[in-house]
């Protein structure tokens, strides 16, 4: 309960001060380049890695990427780069460290 309140407080503070939300709220930053590449910064791990589906854990939930011939071009503690023919992205519940 305290965690939720703290997060709300930080959210309001960020909105009031016009600060970048991904920094203060530890949110993932998702950048998509066309349908070929998707970068997720600030991720929490890989939930699933299949040629038709990649699921990336983040603080905001699990980002599910559906498509064809998907693979992780690069993977480290800060960033994961998914490449392939991306058809759909979807946020699902879950995630966390």
């Amino acid at each position: 309960m305290r965690g939720v309140r703290s997060a709300n407080l930080r959210g309001r503070l960020t909105a009031w001060a016009d600060l970048p939300v991904d920094v203060l709220l530890n949110l993932p930053r998702v950048v998509m380049y066309g349908r070929q590449q998707l970068r997720v910064e600030n991720h929490s791990g890989i939930e699933e890695c299949q040629p038709q589906r990649v699921r990336v854990r983040t603080q905001a939930g699990v980002l599910q990427i559906d498509g064809h011939w998907l693979h992780l071009r690069s993977l480290d503690g800060q960033e994961v780069v998914v490449e392939g023919e991306i058809e759909r992205t979807e946020w699902t519940k879950g995630g966390g460290p």
Partner: protein, 398 residues
């Protein structure tokens, strides 16, 4: 993969297990960077990692209950390991690199540009006389000295540049331009030969020499300027030009004449290295000849392979061996003088331009080496029009 890590080599790994994703998460938690992660099967992952991380990845795989194996290693660090098992290949590569380095220390191609065919042939012949040929060491060539020598030796050159460019020796030249070939435009009238000025009547331009003055080849006789404006100089310019030939003839001379069969050998050459087949030629007397004073004389004709207008260091060789017999020729002083004089005249006549007016001949005989040699010197003085046009640089630039 970070560039500095790639320098250390990379490894393609195969991870098998029920949950290979857990292996991935554990690896990134330990700060390991993975690339090209692909699902190759229901329980199989392929990925690339730095070669130095493979040991840690093995530990992680054991902790996660997965199995890791290295499929392939690449990068500089693994090169030596691979070369160890292929030492013959490595040695051959090293020798090849060494040979390339060695070959780069020599001049293999001589390019001549900017001049007509006859002048190019003259330049090449003079280069050969100066000892510059394909296969010569770069360090043995002094371009400045070559430039000076070529200017002195090739009369039709007004300018020449010699440049070493890798294994190329590039010679670019400019020919002395004759009026017919020049076209129109401001020009100086310059001396085409070393001469003594006999007559100079400027028709246009400013005279720079006087009657009785010696001029050198290329020196301006009449400058193409009129009231500080560039013009095409014109003048009647006659001078005395001397042609000289010196021939020495000994009183005793050994000459050789063909007395037997001709042997032929064929081969190839690379620079100065050459190989001929058959390797050993017969010696005098081996072929059944019964002439003890005979000997074999060999002449090797080189047919270089050409690449465009350049000669390559490769050449096809044709050797011709002749059985010759030496014969001592003894001449009286009168015979020697006559022969030397004849040869000197023949030589000097070849140098004379056709239809030239001869003013004077001089013939000198001198004895050398305590009377063993006779030297004949023939000098012919001619009266010639010695003017040649040379475009003015200021007019060209303007």
């Amino acid at each position: 993969m970070r560039p500095w890590r790639a320098l250390g080599g990379c490894a393609i790994i195969k991870v098998s297990g029920s949950r290979p994703e857990e292996f991935l998460n554990a690896a990134v938690t330990r700060g390991i960077h993975l690339q090209g992660v692909r699902r190759a099967g229901p329980a199989l992952l392929l990925a690339a990692a730095a070669a130095s991380d493979v040991a840690v990845l093995n530990v992680i795989a054991r902790e996660q209950g997965a199995r890791l194996s290295v499929l392939q290693q690449a990068g500089w660090i693994t090169l030596w390991q691979r070369l160890e098992s292929r030492w013959a290949w490595a040695a051959a590569a090293l020798v090849t690199v060494g040979l390339f380095y060695l070959a780069a220390q020599f001049i293999w191609f001589i390019q001549v540009a900017g001049v007509s065919g006859p002048v190019e042939r003259q330049i090449r012949a003079n280069l050969l006389e100066l000892g510059v040929h394909p296969g010569i060491r770069r360090s043995a060539v002094n371009p400045d000295q070559l430039q000076r020598q070529l200017l002195l030796r090739v009369e039709r050159l007004t300018w020449v540049g010699v440049r070493l460019d890798g294994t190329f020796l590039r010679v670019s030249g400019r020919e002395r331009i004759v009026p017919e070939a020049l076209g129109y435009g401001p020009a100086d009238l310059v001396a085409r030969k070393d001469a003594l000025i006999l007559e100079v009547i400027p028709l246009r331009g400013a005279a720079r020499v006087q009657v009785g003055q010696m001029v050198s080849r290329g020196e301006v006789i009449v400058a193409g300027v009129d009231q500080e404006r560039p013009v095409r100089a014109d003048a009647v310019v006659f001078g005395i030009v001397w042609y000289e030939a010196v021939v020495q003839v000994p009183l005793e001379e050994r000459v050789y004449k063909d007395v037997g069969p001709v042997q032929r050998r064929y081969g190839i050459a690379w620079g100065r290295w050459q190989w001929l087949w058959p390797g050993r030629a017969r010696k005098a007397g081996e072929g059944g000849e019964e002439k003890p004073a005979t000997e074999w004389r060999e002449r090797v004709i080189r047919h270089p392979f050409r690449w465009g207008s350049s000669e390559t260091p490769f050449a096809w060789l044709e050797a011709e061996r002749r059985l010759v017999q030496g014969e001592m020729i003894r001449r009286t002083p009168t015979e020697a003088m006559k022969l030397a004089t004849e040869r000197a005249w023949e030589s000097v006549r070849k140098k004379l331009p056709p239809g030239v007016e001869v003013l004077e001949n001089t013939e000198e005989i001198q004895w050398l080496d305590g009377g063993k040699w006779v030297q004949a010197r023939v000098v012919i003085a001619t009266r010639e029009h010695i003017g040649a046009y040379r475009l003015r640089l200021d007019a060209r630039e303007g």
